[in-house]
């Protein structure tokens, strides 16, 4: 799990949303894919597709990537794969907003259920600030996959705090 790459991904997504891009690509890793799936689950991004160096073909009207056209991943082409992230905008504002890394490559932040309960109620827990604004999300890497803070509390599991979306 490289948090250096994750930091780059967060910065890249911020830059892409500020540039109002509709589609962008990030390096293909399992961590990035799972985080993007969690983001998609929260409704923050529209699509996530693993494709080649060229952007995947999209539907003429819907603009969604055509999954049938995508080349399957093989041992030969796995090194050239990229994750293509569809970004969302609403009322001239980026839906993703600002995404910031909490754990740093030099200092990983791990939080338990007790601390997480405080955080989702809006209180600070050690170095993790509370979720106080509407629509604020915190994503954690747990032993049951990457999920949102509230889901973690539901399932009573803690984990490594990855990033916060405002």
């Amino acid at each position: 799990m490289s948090l250096v790459h994750l930091a780059n991904v967060c910065s890249h997504l911020n830059n892409a949303t500020r540039a109002r891009l509709s589609l962008t690509s990030i390096p293909s890793t399992k961590l990035h894919l799972n985080l993007c799936l969690a983001l998609q689950n929260a409704g923050l991004i529209s699509s996530i597709v693993r494709a080649g160096p060229e952007p995947p073909q999209s539907h003429v009207l819907l603009g969604t990537p055509l999954v049938e056209e995508i080349e399957p991943v093989t041992q030969g082409n796995v090194a050239s794969r990229r994750l293509w992230v569809g970004l969302k905008y609403w009322q001239n504002e980026s839906v993703l907003g600002k995404i910031t890394l909490i754990s740093k490559p030099k200092r990983r932040v791990i939080i338990g259920v007790e601390g997480l309960r405080d955080v989702i109620r809006g209180h600070r827990s050690e170095s993790v600030a509370g979720l106080r604004s509407p629509g604020e999300n915190l994503f954690l890497s747990t032993d049951r996959g990457i999920m949102e803070a509230r889901e973690c509390v539901e399932k009573k599991i803690g984990g490594l705090v990855l990033c916060r979306v405002e």
Binding site: G43, L44, W90, Q91, E93, R132, S133, P134, G135, E136
Partner: protein, 412 residues
Amino acid sequence: MNVSRPARCVFCSFSRAAAPGARVPRRQFHLSPVHWAESKAPKAGVRGPEGKTLKQITQNMKEGDFKAYTSEEKEALAKHYTPEQLAAIETGEAAISPQDLAEQFAIRKDQMKLRYLDDLSVIEPGVDKHIRAPESNSDPHARLKTEEELLEDFSRFFAEMPPDATAVDWVRFAENMRVTVGKEESELNPHSVLIPSLFAPGESLSQDPQPEKAATKLENKPQESEEAMEALKRLRLATGYSTAQIRGLKLKTLVQHSVVNQTRLGKVRRMYCLSIAGNGNGLLGIGEAKSEEATDASMQSIHRAIRNMQPITRYENRTIYGDVKGKVGAVELTLMTRPPGFGLRCQHLIFEMCRAAGIHDLAARVTRSRNPMNTVKAAYQALMAQRNPEDVARARGKKLVDVRKVYYAGRT
């Protein structure tokens, strides 16, 4: 046949205080205090002028309470109805026995009931249609009396004045004197084409009209300069507010200092003003202006603030949604949402803004620079930067449900 007078009076006293539907105190899902109407005036204990409850009136209704029309009432009806209509009315009255009426008397509870208790004998503004004077009352040839004609009236009054005249005679003369020539009704009860505003100045539902009081208030006001009146007129045109509405706004000049423009000819000093305007109920605007004179700059900035008023998103009409940040120049600040009863714990500039906007619970922290002008601008930016949860949910394609609006029939 009409309901006897005492019962009718009791209903009149209820007609305005009645709440739509039954309200029962329940546990709240938010912390804001809820003022129950019942706590002020418990329904069961409400006593009419005669000390009777609604239930007692319903139970004690007797046959004798419903009386037939008296001969005077019949005469009065004859003025409005034709003999055939009168005959129909009498037949209808005779068809229902007073015993039935007394037995079946009840306050309606069905779907089509009126949402307020009323015996419909009084015209209420806002609920009932306005009664207009007939069009024939207007007189296109009416004109104001000339000085000579008025003088004639006065001389006639003095000539016909009894020897032991009192102030009462004078008042009667002053009240009855007409100032126009033409049809009498056109002056005293003119036909109105438009529906007049609900309340005249100084008039309210509970109070009788008190125009005298309002008039003295206007007279006591200091006369404003012509320029100011002109500016106010333009503001009214631009915003659509009436003068009374503009006077009701919360206005304040927060920042005032002189600025200097260096030219070849020397320094040109001018006054700078930054003002806020709010209605105390969710609207807030800021305006800035420069002028040679401080009063002029202040007035201009206030008028610009009124023009710039925009709705501020508020949570439960008392605080803001979440924590918001603002940054203008080197001023960085955070406005933080707070629970009910917390108050406005922030510096004076932000306090004034919140008061004008109608925010009652808020904390603020101004970091880095604390320049007053930029603080106000940054606070306004932060207030406008709030995100509405409904919009967030819509953008993410999520369904958002406010549980306070779902449980207990949406009564919070």
